[in-house]
Symmetry: C2
Subunit: 350 residues, 2 copies
DNA sequence: CTGTTAGCGCCTTCAA
DNA sequence: TTGAAGGCGCTAACAG
């Protein structure tokens, strides 16, 4: 069994209190010799305080919770990494929970983590336009527990609630504008699930860029996907059917699907169609035709999230919402100037 | 503040003991009405036991630790995901720690997690051929704490220690044998860091396949890499210089580097050189030329790991080492029959 | 300078 | 069928 504070006290022939005092660097009202003895004995016994006991009495656990939908997803994996690293630096430990596609599970984790005495929580959920009932209960729970909470979506900042936002709309705008500037006039868009705010925002950016260029919004040029590879695969033929010469895919997985579909149709990127993705996955620049993509800075988001979380934990009352993190477009080889010379037939061989 | 058991007891006009008894489903020696009242009140007060307190007295925290080098790495991300999911199903919670390249940090986490009363620990570290001093201390620590520990490397199984191994050697063997069977006689190998057992094993498999085919082992055909993209990039020219017509890359990131290098040299895969990777990343089959690769089943490893961990936690004393998980070769388009007709000059244009 | 006392929230004998 | 008392390991007033 691990040595307890009692063991140390006994071995020193001294009271528990004094040991606690010394080991916690409290006001050094203890004589040097005693103090030294305590340290020595503690080391020899390899004494380490039981954090459960400490937490019970101090109400501080130096633990935070991190709840994500899918840990193995690039973005969330990166987020976990950064957050974990920051916590480590702060001497905090992280409880990890993945809720998959069950909002209820997320709520479970809220409860379980609170029961374990976390001091803060990062809830990395992509919310819908309107919050679900469970989402709302999650927030209430955190609020009523006075638990500092950080999310990555627009939402009311409160005394214990902060958000770190990313400007998805501007991302969609930049991507589309880039295509417009290359002379494309029929630009397809593969969106994410229409329930998600982040997906809707990207679409809004797309629309805005079209408007600015006085290009008409064409329903046929917009295809709803599910952020997965297959969506890109099946979207391309539809968009080609509507006459698209360029495509903005709302994320890179779907863009990868477009690559594949293009190959199957004997089309070449970017000669026959230009393609812009979203996320800037590491793979983008390793592709045969490196993918032009909007950078979704997972690390920065995680960093800023932890920063704001610890600000709350440490008692800051700065409720001001930080400015949205801004996207950047990484132009690579998958986009090219629209060439009217390429006959539609050539563009749509087969 | 959250309601405590005392609040429930008071609200019921009954003793704490009884409440505890009932809520913990202990021997139902309590009258139905009282019992019901307790449940009702508990629900109304939204009572949830403080896990710190429970853990302190019961010595059970329903928490396990998970220590990985890099959370954002595919393999470990997948591992985390599976393990977290399994724990969730078992009603356990996971503490996550990433140690980057600092073994000392891993040791820190061992201590910190033990202090928090974890009931088991998964330590997903790729070990060197001989354990480092810190590694050894980690194991001792766990052993002396009687903490169930699972690792993914060969090692002594003890009363509280299990390993789940993957047959890297066979993976290297399968990859190389495949190339041999395609008629290649000059097969390059890009290894991982020579300190890692898993890297060495892959190399051993490569050697074995050569031996079986009575092909000579040529130092010039073996290039040590660091499991990263750049390694593949710089390895290819060396291997070509040694006359390689095929390459076995010890992981897919390096294989991706080979793709890139090949493109730069104007070489086509698989016409000019065949390529086999290792890991079977999701990206492999999405590539323009899908990559033949050895499957490294992160999920299965994680699954088996958790299974064995919980077996220990639940008191099984089955110390038998499970058979190594076996690799499978996924043959795709990056490997082709060696064609002596292709002149070396064409093979090494430029 | 140091020890006593009182809990933190909960479980668990033991007694009523 | 229920309750009182003790203790898990630790901290924190408050005394000496």
């Amino acid at each position: 069994m691990r040595a307890t504070i009692k063991d140390v006290a006994k071995a020193c022939g001294i009271s528990i209190t004094t040991v606690s005092l010394v080991l916690n660097q409290r006001e050094c009202r203890v004589s040097e010799p005693t103090r030294k003895r305590i340290f020595d004995v503690a080391k020899k016994l390899d004494y380490r305080p039981n954090k459960l006991a400490v937490g019970l009495v101090t109400r501080r656990t130096r633990t935070i919770g991190l709840i994500v939908p899918d840990i193995s997803n690039f973005h969330f994996a990166e987020l976990c990494k950064v957050i974990e690293r920051e916590c480590q630096a702060k001497g905090y430990i992280v409880l990890l929970g993945g809720y998959g596609d069950s909002d209820d599970q997320a709520f479970e984790y809220f409860n379980a983590f609170i029961d374990k005495g976390i001091e803060g929580l990062v809830f990395a959920k992509p919310f819908g336009l309107k919050l679900s009932e469970v989402d709302r209960r999650c927030f209430e729970l955190a609020a009523s527990a006075g638990l500092p909470l950080v999310t990555f979506d627009k939402g009311p900042a409160g005394p214990t609630r902060r958000t770190v936002e990313f400007d998805f709309a501007r991302g969609g705008y930049l991507a589309t504008k880039h295509l417009v500037e290359l002379g494309h006039r029929k630009i397809g868009c593969i969106t994410g699930p229409s329930g998600l705010r982040s997906a809707i925002d990207r679409l809004k950016g797309y629309e805005k860029a079209l408007r600015e260029a006085s290009l008409p919004y064409d329903d046929g040029l917009v295809h709803e996907g599910g952020f997965d590879y297959e969506s890109g695969l099946e979207a391309l033929p539809c968009l080609l059917g509507a006459g698209a010469t360029a495509v903005f895919a709302s994320n890179d997985m779907m863009a990868l699907g477009v690559y594949k579909a293009a190959r199957e149709y004997g089309l070449s990127i970017p000669r026959d169609i230009s393609l812009v993705g979203f996320d800037d996955l590491f793979i983008d620049e390793l592709l045969e035709v490196p993918l032009t993509s909007v950078v979704h800075p997972s690390s920065e988001l995680g960093l800023e999230g932890t920063r704001r979380l610890f600000a709350m934990i440490e008692g800051s009352s700065d409720t001001s919402s930080a400015p949205k993190l801004q996207p950047v477009l990484k132009v690579r080889a998958s986009t090219a100037r629209f060439d009217p010379g390429v006959a539609p037939s050539a563009r749509r061989r087969r």
